[in-house]
Amino acid sequence: MTGNVLLQITDLHASVEGREILKGVDLTVKTGEVHAIMGPNGSGKSTLAQVLAGHPAYTVTAGQVLYEGKDLLAMAPEQRAREGVFLAFQYPVAIRGITNAYFLRAAVNAIRKHKGVEELGPVEFMDALEEKLKAIGWDSSYLTRPVNDGFSGGEKKRNEILQLAVLDPKLAILDETDSGLDIDALKTVAQTVDKLRRPDNATVLVTHYYRILTHIQPDVVHVLAAGRIVKSGGKDLALELEEKGYDWLRTEAAVA
């Protein structure tokens, strides 16, 4: 199965507060694929995710990112989102006083408006939403609660996945969505992500741990170390990392 190139990152350099974090990342993601990006703490995994989403704290100093052949870095964050780039945040932000349902509808309608599709009214939206929830086997208790306000760490992560399911992006970037989840929650989240896989979308999973990959089969596993992808391989690479840790790769990278 070979899809079209959805995301092409070439020699990407990025820094935060003058400190260079990404030092030449190359990555190609095709539709239909799931990529796992692993690596030790501080290797730049989350930075890569934030840069792709357009977080203003990061400055791209060199390189290129093409998304569907278009210059992603030239787009404003909201533009990227409307074009189908979704980031599941490592630390989701709380918004008091706004229910999840309201927030989701605003997001869905912003995207629909961008596409030139008619916006959904509250009733239509709730109908569509319930259908979606049913399809992924979630109950609707999340909808009436304020966005991430008073949520436990695990609930926040689940809520990101709920948003992912509702917004149905072309490119989903999951930034350590698995950390802080217990085994059951991890399973639900992973299964939901798996259900959303289609030949026309793609997922980039940023993770520390092998365990999420037992539920979601990655097509490619990359190791990011010191701001560069130092090794890529199949699922076996993840297993190898689980057993041996990252140190052997650092030596290898230093040699290379």
Binding site: G54, A76, E78, V93, I95, R96, I98, A106, L167
Partner: protein
């Protein structure tokens, strides 16, 4: 904080146009002669003039108050014109004779007063500078015994009612600005709801300042007789001008046994430009007396306009089991300053009060909540709940809270909650990542913050308030 959140652009004030109409303006300056002239133009009885003069003589002896947390240069009271009216005075009972320019003005402001365009279920008194130009649905209201008219007309037509209640809640010597208002007030609304009547529609007054170098001094008096119920809303706006114009109003409410008055304000006076040039000084005294048993007065205000706001709508809870409420949203953007809050004076037994205040500061705005809850000796089992929340947008604005609590009866139960939050770059980015624009994100977050207050507004106006809030904060986030 990155620079994005502080980016300031000129906020477009959408009601800043000037109506080109010939008006009759009294030359600037204040004296007993000017007061006599105003009284004469209004065709007032002698007692009214005497009252005005008494207020004026008191005012001369009073110092301008400066305890509020606001800063402004000296006001030259002799440079203000105290009376301005469109030349072609309409007959109040016939809209055909209202100058089309005035009809057009109010229509532009979203307040159509022509018969066929009127808002269903809302009666409007439209006040332009110093005079009421039209009051809609008067006949319909009269069928229910409800009196709704300009106060200048009430002074002539219902002198006994006015005489009995005018100044009974806010005396002519209450404070500097109330005394000034008592001396020179020109128009405003008068409402009387008779015993047992539930007013069949929303009553509303729209105040428009148009003339240059004038002040607006309106006076509103609402009386809800036993067991009656009325909901009243006021709105206001003014043209964009480089000068500061003074607006010193007085509002008095009287609720008798089991009566309820709900008073809502959407204040959108010209706030001045981004550098703080121009704008209205909104120095207002509003007070309601819950005179009867189990009566209730509820204030809801959405304050988005004015260069400076100084107002503390309060309730005097005289009757046993009476209830006072204050719900407020105050926004200061650019260089606006607001010092606002409430006074709840508990006198009767089992009196209850609720205060919910939401202050939003953006740009270099300064927002102060100042509130007094006073429980007097005889107020057995009085209860108060206060909640003061502040929200900051950017890092050059300020939020201040001064709650005063004075309890003289040990059976009182008082609760006070306060919070301060900040719209962060992270919240904005999160919303943007879901496809929302920064402006939509801010408007959504702010509306969520204000929800408890907006739900107190009459339905038709809640939508307007939300929209207005969006406009006021336009440009506060990049």
């Amino acid at each position: 904080m990155s620079s994005g959140i502080e980016a300031q652009v000129l906020q477009p004030y959408k009601y800043g146009f000037v109506t080109d109409i010939e008006s009759e303006t009294v030359p600037p300056g204040l004296s007993e002669d000017v007061i006599r002239l105003i009284s004469q133009k209004k065709g007032e009885p002698a007692w009214m003039l005497d009252w005005r003069l008494k207020a004026y003589r008191n005012w001369l002896k009073m110092p301008e108050p400066h305890w509020a947390n606001v800063q402004y240069g000296p006001v030259d009271y002799q440079a203000i014109s105290y009376y301005a009216a469109p030349k072609q005075r309409p007959k109040l009972d016939s809209l055909d004779q209202v100058d089309p320019k005035l009809l057009e003005t109010f229509e532009k402001l979203g307040i159509p007063i022509e018969e066929r365009k009127r808002l269903a279920g809302v009666a409007v008194d439209a006040v332009f500078d110093s005079v009421s130009v039209a009051t809609t649905f008067r006949e319909e209201l009269k069928k229910h015994g409800v009196i709704f008219c300009a106060i200048s007309e009430a002074i002539r037509e219902y002198p006994d009612l006015v005489r009995q209640y005018l100044g009974s809640v806010v005396p002519y010597n209450d404070n500097f600005f109330a005394a000034l208002n008592s001396a020179v007030f020109t128009d405003g609304s008068f409402v009387y709801v008779p015993t047992g009547v539930r007013c069949p529609m929303e009553l509303s007054t729209y105040f428009r300042i148009n003339a240059e170098s004038t002040g607006q001094f309106e006076r509103t008096l609402i009386i809800a007789d036993e067991g009656s119920h009325v909901s009243y809303l006021e709105g206001c706006s003014a043209p964009v001008r480089n000068e500061n114009q003074l607006h010193a109003a007085v509002v008095e409410l009287v609720a008798l046994d089991r009566a309820t008055i709900k008073y809502s304000t959407i204040q959108n006076w010209y706030p001045g430009d981004e550098e703080g040039r121009g704008g209205i000084y909104n120095f207002v005294t509003k007070r309601g007396a819950c005179r009867g048993r189990a009566s209730k007065i509820s204030w809801t205000q959405v304050e988005t306009g004015s260069a400076i706001t100084w107002k503390y709508p309060g309730c005097i809870l005289q009757g046993d089991d009476s209830i006072g409420e204050f719900y407020s949203v105050a926004v200061t953007n650019h260089r606006q300053q607001a010092d606002t809050g409430t006074k709840m004076i508990h006198m009767g037994k089992n009196t209850r009060s609720t205060i919910v205040s939401k202050g939003i500061s953006a740009g270099r705005g300064q927002n102060t909540y100042r509130g007094l809850v006073k429980i007097l000796k005889g107020a057995e089992q009085a209860r108060n709940y206060s909640q003061c929340d502040s929200m900051l947008i950017g890092d050059k604005c300020g939020a201040h809270t001064f709650p005063y609590i004075d309890v003289r009866n040990s059976s009182a139960i008082m609760e006070h909650e306060a919070s301060t939050s900040k719209i962060g770059e992270d919240q904005i980015f999160y919303a943007k990542q879901r496809g929302l624009s920064a402006e939509d994100a801010v408007s959504m977050i702010v509306n969520g913050f204000c929800k408890e207050v907006f739900k107190e507004l009459p339905m038709e106006f809640a939508v307007e308030a939300q929209r207005l809030l969006g406009i006021s904060l336009e440009g506060s986030v990049g």
